[in-house]
Symmetry: C2
Subunit: 477 residues, 2 copies
């Protein structure tokens, strides 16, 4: 079993702990497995915005801004259009916005569609310890909910942090075993985050929150088998829809199990071969998983980012052109081939799951944006010719945010590059300015520049807004 | 591992095979695991009503009648009222009926609510080989769909048989390992049945059907941990909702995996520790799982039925009263305690998962209908006093439709009863008249008797109806 947790790096863990923990750690909480769900529910119900340290709240606003940008960037995607076309005959009242679009629909379907938009470009945030994309399930659900009932910016931020905490802690408890089995953790653990955040905004009692988590446990979404198809982006959307449904039902006392996470036939036992409940129950309120969130500079699977980063650096350093190159050799972390090992992608979407295409296009075009993952880019003969000369070697000594690249030129020269921390990883994070530039690029052609600017400002200032729904309005076409 | 498949009994298997198979068996179909999903999709897309033998179609109409009755019986349940109250603010246009009620809603939510109604009393049909309740996911989805687009009775029946075939074959492929892990197979395999049947009515191509099955695979519903709570009945409802959603998306070419069932990260590998793909791909069109469907005489977990049957027989034979009885000893199949082992149920719903309550109430009240699983019945001191004198011994030699009951009287006499096949099992099936009586009892107080009679007639004559939606109208209040 590979220890993917080391990806975070000791320095980051120390850093985030410094952000969040008070100076005197309290006594260790003993968590008998039988109370896992209730302990978590109790924390969610009791959690206050004032308890959340300022740097954590700041990271939440970065997560929010990155997510809104990704929804806008994905909002015009074919998958989103198809989902709306297929399901709109069944939409309820126009209660909530589809960001980046003119349509409005009921809260549940808005959560579904915005969740699809947010993930369809594979450009959204990543909790690197679990490869979970935390914002999609949580924010898709609570932003739609905030358009249906009044929610202050502070309450929104609090619910968001608690929702992300819930899904990531549950993810931590079962990662990597759960992911290795084949589950898409963003949909399977994400549904808990949506239920928790929505339940918080609905003012659930502890018992109702226990039931909401249980109703979430009954509705996991997504297998890794669907990667490379439109269904991957359906997963966070449906997780948002399911979690919101769970919270609505629990709010009316639709009963469910009291031990849905930890019971013998509960979520953690059924959906994972290993589990560590202390990841869920210990240090609640002392550490914040959202502090570990990261944002992608490239719209594709995060395990390819070191390769793209390194190939672009080599191209620029040596002013490389494809015809100079004899072959490209990549030494990569095992997960790279498992997730992005498509040798001959046929579509732009498949290209996002091909480290071979990523390396080739980065060298050919000096970029790896949405255009570089179009159908045309994937079929470009210059790119495919170079792609066929890219080879990979799995090396367990290489970490997930690393790569060792060797380019052999036709003149016999050998160029090497070791990427220690890919751009966008927690150790080399995107700055606020980087995030704004990413947002602006995604909003281009979707919203007028002044409106995009206003949406960004609302993200940064969410905590002071009297009504969080203003953000949804600003991000709608 | 217990071989639960023997529950069906050799005679029944022979019988159903005789019903369905042509005289000359064709050569065995070789099914490489890589084509499982496509082979199944191809069969569903090509399946014609004319291919289905008359006795199979008859069994389908029995399944339909039993299911409509169960929806009516469950339609006034508290769980259904809560679900409607919680979700109706988000309902879409009034396209489809909530059976037994006056409300109408969009097709997807009608499927959800009717699915909850159909299972909330634990009185619906059972495919004994997998303990799957086939009608709920399939019929909830296609009856709602038939109100949205014109569907002839013949097409409805065909889609129903194919949907049940799909979910039960997938269930067969992973049972009992999948169920033993903790999944509620009615929601996890049922979602495929709903997708297949709806996809059939939507006229999906083979590729679209492959995607519909894959979108279903991404949305399994339900853990056994939720048994004894309202969420158990949510499972078939949500499976109907999810399968219908899958079919609608696939119909618009929302892409998904081509190998969702059999791939390394596919449904059968991720959700089960064992699998036999031949159960899915062999003898398609030659055998029909719906021929093995069974209908409950008592509204509770089927594994308690032999006990109820035997206790009622002993009570009648010896005119027993509770005060005569010193103790009741049950020798039961292992699954009985696993599923219905609650010693001290506190609510009527919990009583449905207590073989101790079932034995006691059957002796005290000479019946085991919905009234015998009310909160009042479970708390009746006469019942609880006798319940505390019921003990169980697990005996692997006892089959699932059997029980060995020994009642010791205070005067020292010992009365024994061995139930070889419980009433309602495939070996002792309910007659058409039994099913009508069950339907009428469930419809009482929900529909006028003449309307209930009309709904039953439509079930029996579905195949000849020009428009299957007439049944939904007849079964609405």
């Amino acid at each position: 079993m590979i220890d993917r947790r080391r990806f975070i790096g000791a320095s980051v863990l120390a850093g985030s702990s410094a952000l969040a923990a008070p100076p005197d750690p309290p006594a260790k909480i003993l968590a008998p497995p039988k109370d896992v769900t209730r302990i978590l529910a109790s924390y969610i119900v009791g959690g206050q915005l004032a308890d959340i340290p300022a740097p954590v709240r700041k990271e939440a606003s970065r997560t929010l801004l990155n997510w809104v940008g990704c929804v806008l960037g994905g909002s015009q995607n074919e998958a989103v259009g198809i989902a709306i076309s297929a399901l709109s005959p069944f939409f309820g009242p126009a209660q909530a916005s589809l960001l980046g679009r003119k349509e409005r629909t009921d809260v549940l379907n808005a959560a579904l569609i915005n969740g699809i938009s947010s993930h369809v470009l594979d450009f959204d945030d990543t909790h690197l310890r679990t490869v979970l994309h935390p914002a999609g399930p949580v924010l898709s659900a609570i932003l739609a909910l905030a358009e249906y009932q009044p929610v202050s910016g502070g309450d929104f931020l609090n619910a968001m942090v608690l929702g992300v905490e819930t899904e990531c802690r549950i993810g931590n408890a079962v990662y990597p075993a759960h992911y290795d089995v084949g589950w898409h953790i963003t949909g399977t653990a994400g549904v808990f985050g949506a239920a928790a955040a929505c339940g918080k905004l609905l003012g659930l009692s502890e018992q109702q929150m226990v039931w909401a988590l249980s109703l979430a446990a009954a509705q996991p979404v997504g297998l890794r088998e669907m990667f490379g198809t439109m269904t991957k982006s359906f997963h966070p959307g449906r997780a948002a829809h399911n979690g919101l449904t769970a919270a609505f039902l629990a709010a009316k006392n639709f009963t469910s199990s009291d031990h849905a996470i930890e019971a013998k036939s509960g979520w953690a036992n059924v959906l994972s071969t290993q589990r560590d409940y202390a990841e869920i129950t210990e240090k609640l309120g002392r550490t914040y998983e959202i502090s570990l969130n990261s944002y992608k500079p490239f719209p594709c699977g995060i395990v390819m980012h070191p390769t793209i980063d390194g190939c672009i650096q080599l191209r620029r350093q040596y002013q490389l052109t494809p015809d100079q190159i004899d072959r490209v050799e990549l030494r990569v972390h095992p997960l790279v081939l498992e997730l992005t090992g498509k040798k001959t992608p046929q579509t732009g979407l498949e290209g996002k799951f091909s480290v071979y295409h990523a390396a080739a296009i980065a060298i050919v075009e000096d970029a790896a944006g949405e255009q570089q993952f179009s159908d045309m880019a994937v079929r470009n003969p210059v790119v495919t010719a170079l792609r066929d000369r890219v080879s990979t070697v799995v090396d367990p000594a290489i970490k997930e945010d690393q790569v060792r690249i060797a380019i052999t030129l036709k003149d016999g020269r050998r160029l090497e590059k070791f990427i220690e921390h890919a751009v966008g990883s927690v150790d080399a994070p995107m700055s606020d300015q980087d995030l704004e530039a990413k947002f602006a690029a995604q909003a281009e052609g979707v919203l007028p520049a002044t409106q995009a600017r206003r949406a960004m400002d609302l993200c940064w200032n969410l905590e002071t807004l009297p009504d969080a729904a203003a953000l949804a309005e600003a991000a709608s076409a």
